[in-house]
């Protein structure tokens, strides 16, 4: 098992893929490492949120994803 990182919206283009599997557990430093410098740069900004296991993290730097969990990287939204 592993952690799945999901790239949503424009981050998908930046990452060049929709998702990536990495080994569990995954913390904030591990995430920044795993996504490459371009996405990591975006991720460090205030406007990108991180969800783990279907919940948006109040403090994304406290990420602690376990085996089988999904980590979604959520850039600024735009609907309607």
């Amino acid at each position: 098992m592993a952690v799945t990182i999901l790239f949503l919206g424009p981050l998908r283009d930046l990452a060049g893929e929709a998702e990536r599997q990495v080994s569990a557990p995954l913390d904030w430093a591990g995430l920044l490492d795993a996504v490459g410098p371009d996405v990591a740069g975006q991720l460090s900004g205030e406007r990108v949120n991180v969800a783990c296991a279907g919940k948006v993290l109040a403090d994304k730097t406290a990420l602690n994803a376990q085996d089988g969990e999904e980590v979604a990287l959520l850039p600024p939204v735009s609907g309607g």
């Binding site: 949503l8 919206g9 279907g54 959520l74 600024p76 939204v77 609907g79 309607g80």
Partner: protein, 148 residues
């Protein structure tokens, strides 16, 4: 009466509003907003993506806040995802209340949040490919009006 949906196929707002209005007997007013893919020069298509575990639940929480904030009888909130073309409906929000102020303000409130604070990502296709769209400064200013 509450009806919150994410749709992956085209929909006809008129077919939703009649039943919604009838489901709220005794109402004084119904306000409805329908957003469509605008005919913008050079735009061939629009695509909305979402994140399934968050998006519909976020719309339900938005409905909770609307019911807490306004004196509402019913709320319909329907949002498309997927690829759409100019003239196709993207979003339909309809609010039924005893007084018009609550109905109109609810639609205003929900639209401002769907536009720049719900889990959707929008891009449009032009001759040179796809371009991601972020909310306009006006959209963020509209959202800030609600003082949350």
């Amino acid at each position: 009466m509450r009806d919150i949906r994410l749709l992956t196929e085209p929909f006809y707002p008129g077919a939703l509003i009649g039943p919604f209005t009838n489901a709220n007997p005794g109402l004084g007013g119904v306000c409805t907003f329908v957003g469509e893919v605008r005919l913008d020069e050079g735009v061939e298509a629009l695509e909305l993506t979402h994140y399934e575990p968050l998006t519909l639940q976020g719309m339900q929480e938005l409905a909770d806040r609307a019911f807490a904030r306004f004196k509402l009888m019913g709320l319909l909130m329907v949002h498309r995802v997927g690829q759409m073309h100019p003239g196709e409906p993207i979003v339909c929000v309809s609010a039924a209340a005893r007084h018009r102020r609550d109905a109109i303000d609810t639609v205003d409130f929900c639209m401002d949040h769907l536009k720049s604070a719900a889990w959707f990502w929008k891009r449009e296709k032009r001759a040179d490919g796809w371009h991601w769209i972020e909310p306009r400064a006006d959209d963020y200013a509209d959202l800030a009006r609600w003082g949350e």
